[in-house]
C-alpha cells in the first residue's frame, strides 16, 4: 500500500533504490550517452531504459523528427536503432560502467519479434531487465498498436516470459484499447511490471497548406500538461494489478514525481524533461526531497 506522503526509497524487482526516477526509453540513448558531462548524468537515476531495440536495424523516420507545439512536443523518431545484433555486440558494452542498471526496451513489428529480440539480448549480461514496448503498430493488424488488444499483449508477454528469467515490464499505450485491461493482460502473461504509459498520438497541421512538418503526420505527443492523464491511468492500473507500475509521462517538477507515486506508481520515468535537462533526475529528486521536508 502507498503511504502518504510517499517515500522516495523504492524497491523494484528485488533491488532497492534511493530514488524513484528512471530515465525513459528513447530519451536516454543506450545509457552510454549519459557520460556526456563530466562524471555523467547519473545523479538521482535509479535505472536507465534504453531506446527501443528491434530485430533488424532501423534507420528511423525521415527528418524532421521533432516539432514543438505551443504546449507540448511531437516526436516521430521511428524507432531508429542499430538492431539487436549490433546492440548486443557493440552497443551494450558501452553501458557497463553506468552506476545504475540498464533496462533494455524492446519493440517489434510482429507478436513474435519481441521474444526473438529478447532471446538475442539474453546473450548479453548487461541488461538488468526488459521493457516491452507494445505501443508500436502491429503491422499485421492494420497498424493499431499491439497494446490496443489485451489478447495480443498477453501473448507477447507469455512468449517473452518463456525466453528470459529476467524481470520485464510491458509499456502500455494510452491511444487505443483499455489500459486497465491491457495491464491485467500483461500481468497474466507473466510481466513483472507495467509502464503507464507512453506518448499520446498527436498532430500539428499547418492550416494554410494542410501539410504537417513531420512526414508521418501523426506523431507521439508529450507535455507536462498531460500529467493528469497519466496520474489517472497510473491510479486505475495500480488498483487492478499487483505488479509494480512504472509511471511515464508528464513529469517536469519534483511535485509531479510525488503525485505519480501517490497515485500508485512504484517508479517514475522521465523522458522529455531529460532531453531538456541532462541532470533532470537529480533536479527532480532534489525538488521532491525539498517538498517532503
Amino acid at each position: 500500500m502507498t503511504a502518504f506522503p510517499p517515500s522516495l526509497s523504492r524497491r523494484l524487482w528485488g533491488r532497492s533504490f534511493d530514488s524513484p526516477i528512471i530515465l525513459a526509453g528513447g530519451t536516454a540513448g543506450f545509457g552510454a550517452e549519459l557520460f556526456v558531462t563530466d562524471g555523467g548524468c547519473f545523479g538521482g537515476v535509479a535505472a536507465v531504459v534504453s531506446k527501443s531495440v528491434t530485430l533488424n536495424p532501423r534507420a528511423g523516420n525521415e527528418p524532421p523528427r521533432i516539432q514543438e507545439t505551443e504546449f507540448g512536443l511531437l516526436n516521430s523518431i521511428g524507432l531508429a536503432n542499430p538492431g539487436v545484433y549490433s546492440v548486443v555486440s557493440q552497443v551494450l558494452e558501452k553501458a557497463v560502467n553506468m552506476p545504475c542498471p540498464l533496462i533494455v526496451n524492446v519493440a517489434g513489428e510482429t507478436e513474435d519479434e519481441f521474444a526473438r529480440v529478447v532471446q538475442v539480448l539474453e546473450g548479453s549480461p548487461v541488461p538488468w531487465a526488459y521493457e516491452i514496448n507494445v505501443s508500436c503498430p502491429n503491422v499485421a493488424c492494420g497498424g493499431l498498436p499491439f497494446g490496443s488488444d489485451p489478447g495480443s499483449v498477453e501473448r507477447i508477454a507469455r512468449t517473452v516470459a518463456e525466453v528470459t528469467r529476467k524481470p520485464f515490464c510491458v509499456k502500455l499505450t494510452p491511444n487505443a484499447g483499455s489500459i486497465v485491461e491491457t495491464a491485467v493482460a500483461a500481468q497474466e502473461g507473466g510481466a513483472a511490471g507495467v509502464t503507464v504509459c507512453n506518448t499520446f498520438l498527436g498532430m500539428k497541421m499547418d492550416w494554410r497548406t494542410g501539410t504537417t512538418l513531420l512526414r508521418k503526420k501523426v506523431a507521439g505527443y508529450s507535455s507536462p500538461a498531460l500529467l493528469p492523464l497519466v496520474v489517472a491511468r497510473v491510479w486505475q492500473v495500480s488498483r487492478a494489478v499487483s505488479v509494480p507500475v512504472l509511471a511515464s509521462g508528464g513529469v517536469a517538477r519534483g511535485g509531479d514525481v510525488l503525485e505519480l507515486l501517490a497515485a500508485g506508481a512504484e517508479m517514475v520515468q522521465v523522458g522529455s524533461r531529460l532531453m531538456r535537462r541532462p541532470r533532470a533526475a537529480r533536479e527532480l529528486l532534489q525538488e521532491a526531497r525539498e517538498l517532503l521536508e
Binding site: G26, T27, A28, G29, E33, L34, V36, T37, D38, K51, A59, G60, E62, P63, P64, R65, I66, Q67, E68, E70, F71, G72, L73, N75, I77, A80, S222, S223, P224, A252, S272, R273, L274, M275, R276, R277, P278, R279
Partner: protein, 250 residues
C-alpha cells in the same frame, strides 16, 4: 574537447546588430569550446517551450561566450528579451566542430550561417578568405579579415548569391572549404564545386533538435547508405562526403 556543462549563464551584453538580429554575451565560468561547436539555451525557465534552442558559438570571451542569432519564432523571441544581468540556462559546448586542418581555408557563409565564422577564423593558422552572402547589406555577419560580400539586393558587394562569388575564387589555393548557411545555399555550393575539390568541403549542418546532446535521435542528417547521423553529436560539422546530399531536405 571540453565536456559540456549545464549551467546558469549570466547575460552581460545584448547588442542589436540589425533589426531582428542580436548578439548576446554570456558570462560562464571556465567556459571552453571549439569552433563549430554550439550551445543549447533555454528560452524560458517555465515548462514551455519544452526544448532549448541551439546556437553556434560566435566567439569565445574570457570566461564566457557570445552567440549571434535571428529572432524568428517563440524561442528566439523569448531569448531576444534577455537583458544584461538575466540568467540563461545553457548547455554546452556541444557537438563536433570544424576539423582544423592546416593550409588556407575558404569560408563560405550565408545569412546567420556566418555566425560561427569569427571563432573559426580566429582559430585557423592562416587568415582565411571569407565569402559572405545575405539578403541585404545590414544582415551580413562580418568575420573580419579578407572578406568578399554579395547581397540579394546589391546593397553590399555585388548583387547575387554567394555561389556567384565562388566562381571567381581559385579553389586550388585552399586546403579546406568550410560552408555554413541555409540548406539551399549549402546544396548550391556543393553542386557548383568541381568533383576534385569536394573532398575539401566541411559543412556545418542544422537540424531540429530534441536534446542537443545525443540521447533522442531527433536531429538526423542523412548519410550515404540510407542511414542517418546525429547533427548534435556526430556533427554539426560533417565533411561534404559524409552527407547524402540527395536525401537531405528541410
Amino acid at each position: 574537447m571540453a565536456a559540456p556543462r549545464d549551467f546558469d549563464g549570466i547575460v552581460t551584453c545584448v547588442e542589436g546588430l540589425c533589426p531582428g538580429v542580436l548578439r548576446i554575451a554570456v558570462k560562464a565560468h571556465d567556459f571552453a569550446g571549439e569552433p563549430g561547436q554550439f550551445v543549447e539555451m533555454e528560452p524560458s525557465p517555465d515548462c514551455f517551450p519544452m526544448t532549448r534552442r541551439p546556437f553556434t558559438i560566435n566567439r569565445l570571451l574570457p570566461g564566457g561566450f557570445e552567440v549571434v542569432f535571428e529572432v524568428l519564432g517563440r524561442g528566439t523571441g523569448l531569448l531576444g528579451r534577455l537583458e544584461p544581468g538575466d540568467g540563461v540556462r545553457t548547455l554546452g559546448p556541444l557537438g563536433r566542430g570544424w576539423r582544423l586542418s592546416p593550409g588556407r581555408w575558404l569560408l563560405v557563409g550565408g545569412g546567420m550561417g556566418a555566425a560561427g565564422f569569427p571563432f573559426l577564423a580566429a582559430s585557423l593558422s592562416e587568415p582565411p578568405l571569407v565569402l559572405l552572402g545575405a539578403s541585404t547589406s545590414e544582415r551580413l555577419l562580418h568575420t573580419g579579415g579578407d572578406q568578399r560580400t554579395i547581397t540579394d539586393d546589391g546593397t553590399s558587394g555585388v548583387k547575387g548569391r554567394v555561389t556567384d562569388l565562388l566562381g571567381s575564387v581559385d579553389l586550388d589555393a585552399f586546403s579546406t572549404v568550410a560552408v555554413c548557411g541555409p540548406l539551399r545555399m549549402l546544396k548550391a555550393v556543393w553542386t557548383s564545386l568541381p568533383d576534385r575539390h569536394r573532398h575539401k568541403v566541411q559543412v556545418s549542418t542544422e537540424s531540429r533538435m530534441g536534446c542537443g546532446w545525443g540521447v533522442c535521435e531527433g536531429c538526423s542528417i542523412p548519410v550515404p547508405g540510407g542511414g542517418y547521423r546525429k547533427c548534435c553529436t556526430d556533427g554539426p560539422v560533417f565533411t561534404g562526403e559524409e552527407l547524402d546530399w540527395d536525401r537531405w531536405s528541410e
